[in-house]
C-alpha cells in the first residue's frame, strides 16, 4: 500500500535517486491559489519551518525510506508489535497511577475503587493487565524470530545483548507490577517470588532484604515495588529501547536465511581474469 504522495510534506518525501526526476521537494508556495489551496500548504510549511531549524528531515527520510532486504515478511513486525505493547503499557500505566495509592492500608481499596467505580476503569486496568502478558509473549516471539533467522550474528551481537537486558527488565516489570493490586493472590505470589530470590547463595538473603526493605514484608515494601515498577525500570526500558532501535536503523535488518545473497558470477569471473 502506498501512502498518497500529496499528503506527505515536502521535506519528508522520498529523496529522488540520481538520474530520476525530482519529485517536487521544491514545492510551489501556492502563489495565486485560493484560500483552500493556501490552507493545504500549511502542514508542509510547518514541517519546513521545523526542518529548517533542526535538520531532522534527513534523519527521518533516511529512516523511513531505508532499504530492507528481499524476503522481509510478517515475522519482522514482531519487534514493532512489542514496542506497541510497551507504549500501551506506558500510557495505561500513567493513567492508572492517577487513581492508585501505594500504601499497604489503601492499595487494595484504591484498586477496587478504580476497577468498579471509575468510568472505564475496568477497561483501562484490563488493558494494562492483559497487555503485560501480551508484551512478555511478544518479547519471546521477537526473540525467537531473531534467533531462528540468525539475526543475532555479526554485526548485531550488541543488539542481541541489549534485547536480552530488555527481556529481563520486562520480566522485572511483571514481577513488581504483580504485587500492586495487593490482594491475597498478589501478596502471596510476591512472598514466594522474593523468597525464590533469597535462595541464591551468598547474595540471596541480602537481595530479598533489599526487595522487602527489611526482613519482613513491611510498610515500605509496596512503595518500593511501586517505585521500581513505575520509575526505575521504565526509565531503563525507554533508554535501552532507544539504543535498540538506533542499532536496528543503523545496521539494517537481516534477510531471512532462505534468501541467498545476490551473486554476480560474471563480474567475479571478470575480476579473476
Amino acid at each position: 500500500m502506498k501512502f498518497p504522495q500529496q499528503l506527505i510534506p515536502g521535506p519528508l518525501k522520498r529523496p529522488s535517486a540520481p538520474g530520476e526526476r525530482g519529485n517536487g521537494s521544491g514545492n510551489g508556495n501556492g502563489n495565486g491559489a485560493g484560500p483552500v489551496d493556501q490552507l493545504k500548504e500549511v502542514p508542509a510549511d510547518l514541517v519546513g519551518w521545523v526542518d529548517e531549524r533542526t535538520g531532522g528531515s534527513g534523519f527521518l527520510t533516511g529512516m523511513l525510506y531505508r532499504k530492507v532486504p528481499k524476503g522481509t515478511n510478517w515475522f519482522y513486525t514482531l519487534g514493532s508489535a512489542t514496542l506497541f505493547a510497551f507504549v500501551v503499557q506506558a500510557l495505561t500505566g500513567v493513567f492508572l497511577a492517577m487513581y492508585y495509592t501505594p500504601s499497604a492500608d489503601e492499595a487494595y481499596a484504591s484498586i477496587t475503587h478504580l476497577t468498579n467505580d471509575v468510568f472505564l476503569g475496568e477497561f483501562v486496568r484490563g488493558m494494562h493487565k492483559w497487555g503485560a502478558s501480551l508484551m512478555v509473549i511478544l518479547v519471546f516471539l521477537h526473540m525467537g524470530r531473531t534467533f531462528f533467522f540468525g539475526a543475532y550474528k555479526y554485526p548485531r551481537e550488541l543488539n542481541w545483548v541489549i534485547g536480552v537486558v530488555l527481556l529481563i527488565l520486562t520480566l522485572v516489570m511483571g514481577f513488581t507490577g504483580y504485587l500492586l493490586p495487593f490482594d491475597q493472590r498478589s501478596f502471596w505470589a510476591t512472598v514466594v517470588g522474593v523468597n525464590i530470590n533469597g535462595t541464591g547463595p551468598i547474595i540471596g538473603p541480602y537481595l530479598s532484604d533489599f526487595l522487602r526493605a527489611g526482613p519482613e514484608f513491611g510498610a515500605t515494601t509496596l512503595a518500593r515495588f511501586y517505585a521500581i515498577h513505575m520509575l526505575l525500570v521504565p526509565g531503563l526500558l525507554i533508554a535501552l529501547i532507544g539504543a535498540h532501535l538506533y542499532l536496528v536503523v543503523k545496521l539494517g535488518t537481516t534477510a531471512p536465511p532462505w534468501v541467498s545473497a545476490e551473486r554476480k558470477p560474471k563480474s567475479l569471473r571478470e575480476e579473476q581474469v
Binding site: A104, F187, V191, I196, I202, F210, E216, A219, T220
Partner: protein, 200 residues
C-alpha cells in the same frame, strides 16, 4: 604532563566526584534497610493454662506494625511435652513448662501452613509441603523444619518474641528466609544478615 592533560584529568575527576556525590547517597538510601535491625516485639498470647501439650492452639500476632492485616501472622502454640523428648533423645529436650510457638511460614517459599489436628500435621497449600507435630519435614519440597518463635513467661502471660530457624535436629539457628537450608555448610552459603537477630 601537559597543561591540556592536567585540565582533562581535573575535569574528569570533578565530574566523577559530582556524580558520586549524587549517586552514592541515593544508593545508600535505597540499601539502608538491609543493614537495619527492627526492634524486638514481645506480645502476650494468653496464660500458661490456655495451652496443652498434645494439640496446638492458634494465636494471631503482629510481626510488622502499622500496616494492618498484612503485618499479622498466625502462630501455633503448645506446651512442651517431656514424653516426646524420651521418644527421640537426639532432639533438644522439652520441659513441661516450656512453650513451643511454631511459625506458619512454610520453609519452602513462605506460604502460610495450617495445622490439621486429625493428622497432627502442618500442611502447606501452595506446593504440598507436610510437617509432623514438631514441625519436621515429612513430605514435599521444604528444605528445613518450620521456624519457631522465642517464648517466655512474664506477669503470668505467655509471650511470643523474635522468630528463629532450626536445623533438621531442631537446634536453634539465626532466623533466615524460607527456601534457605540450615546447618553445616549452609550457615556460610547463607551468611548472617544484619537485619535479623542472632540465634537464641
Amino acid at each position: 604532563m601537559t597543561r591540556r592533560r592536567v585540565f582533562g584529568v581535573a575535569v574528569q575527576g570533578l565530574g566523577g566526584a559530582a556524580t558520586a556525590a549524587v549517586l552514592l547517597p541515593a544508593v545508600g538510601f535505597a540499601l539502608a534497610p538491609v543493614f537495619e535491625q527492627e526492634p524486638e516485639l514481645w506480645q502476650p498470647v494468653g496464660t500458661p493454662e490456655d495451652f496443652t501439650s498434645d494439640a496446638y492452639t492458634p494465636r494471631v500476632i503482629t510481626i510488622v506494625e502499622d500496616i494492618g492485616e498484612a503485618g499479622k501472622t498466625t502462630v501455633y502454640v503448645r506446651r512442651g511435652d517431656p514424653g516426646l523428648s524420651e521418644q527421640e533423645p537426639e532432639l533438644p529436650p522439652e520441659g513441661a513448662n516450656d512453650f513451643i510457638a511454631i511459625s506458619t511460614r512454610c520453609a519452602h517459599l513462605g506460604c502460610p501452613v495450617r495445622y490439621v489436628q486429625a493428622a497432627s500435621n502442618f500442611i502447606c497449600p501452595c506446593h504440598g509441603g507436610v510437617y509432623d507435630f514438631q514441625g519436621k519435614v515429612i513430605g514435599g519440597p521444604p528444605v528445613r523444619p518450620l521456624d519457631r518463635f522465642q517464648t517466655r513467661i512474664l506477669d503470668g502471660q505467655v509471650e511470643i518474641g523474635p522468630r528463629y530457624s532450626v536445623t533438621g535436629q531442631l537446634d536453634p539457628v539465626r532466623y533466615r528466609d524460607p527456601g534457605e537450608f540450615t546447618g553445616g555448610i549452609w550457615e556460610y552459603l547463607y551468611p548472617p544478615r544484619p537485619s535479623v537477630p542472632p540465634a537464641p
